[in-house]
Amino acid sequence: MDAVIKAAFIYLFLLVVFRLAGRRSLSEMTTFDLLLLLIVSETTQQAMVGDDHSVTRAVVLIVTFVMIDVGLSLLKQRSDTLEKFMEGTPVVLVENGRPIKRTMDKERVGEEDILEVARVTRGVMSLDQIKFAVLERSGKISIITAKSVNTGETS
């Protein structure tokens, strides 16, 4: 019983922490982000497992995590409000070549970040050529060029 309760608490705690940390914090992982992730996983593992290294506990913990994940995905599918609360919404960072500075500052995205994605994914060199840059819920930036809007092309 305690394994289920601990796992549920840790899941919800991590959900809140990473939602509060913001979406770009782990979407583009640096070496330090990877280290941070390892430290977080090691710390939570010790809190959940303690001195019980049995297969049964491992099974119970894994099933708890997966079932909470499945349960929340089903709830999110039925409730737009819950989905918005948990996943956030896409945010426009550049509109018609004009960077929206306030949004970019709040989301901690620099012009260079947008241009880098634009170069890598669309072969675009300047903001002028970008119709929209959108920070997606996953933390990734998608670039829509004026050309792709005209042709109906999506990235």
């Binding site: 019983m1 305690d2 394994a3 289920v4 001195d51 019980d52 290294h53 049995s54 297969v55 049964t56 506990r57 099974v59 119970v60 099933v63 708890t64 997966v66 079932m67 499945v70």
Partner: protein, 178 residues
């Protein structure tokens, strides 16, 4: 345009029958997982409300509280109380006897409180002596922290008599999960 839709599906190698079978299997697996979770919450896979047991010997001399479902290599607590039968001299030392399915040898026991003044292995049994003032009582039960190394179904006997007479023996049945 069904023809175009079909060709699109061919392009991405969609296999509708396999997808539908996968969805069915997934939902069956979710149901099984939900049952597993309910069992874990109820205490059927370890500690929990339905796993707690209390047994008392027929003569009332020994009482044991424990969780029926153990996990291999994990520590579980067993509380043993040596009750005072009417007329027994409470100032004399008390001995507890433990025996069980060769289990004693795979038990890692730590006697927390109260501590026995002596312990002896006699065959496949263990004897624990307690000083008069430190005998396991309802207010201070003997706390055994047991760690069973192998999965098994086992029986542990706690007795107030050296020959494990049925009347003065409390039988503890354990299921040890892997």
């Amino acid at each position: 345009m069904p023809a175009r839709a079909d060709s699109s599906r061919d392009l991405i190698s969609e296999d509708g029958a396999l997808d539908r079978a996968t969805w069915v299997v997934q939902r069956v697996a979710w149901a099984v997982a939900a049952v597993l979770l309910a069992a874990a919450l109820a205490g059927l896979l370890g500690r929990g409300p339905l796993g707690g047991r209390a047994v008392t010997s027929a003569d009332g001399s020994i009482s044991v509280e424990y969780d029926r479902y153990f996990r291999a290599d994990a520590v579980s607590d067993v509380r043993v109380t040596r009750l005072d039968p009417v007329g027994e001299n409470t100032t004399s030392p008390v001995t507890l006897y433990l025996r069980g399915d060769g289990l004693i040898h795979s038990l890692q026991s730590a006697f927390l409180a109260p501590s026995p003044i002596a312990s002896r292995a006699v065959g496949d049994a263990v004897e624990l002596d307690f000083a008069p003032g430190t005998r396991p009582s309802p207010t201070v039960p003997l706390l055994l922290r047991l760690k069973v190394e192998d999965p098994r179904v086992a029986t542990l006997l706690f007795s107030s008599s050296p020959d494990f007479a049925p009347a003065s023996t409390a039988e503890v049945n354990l299921v040890v999960y892997p």
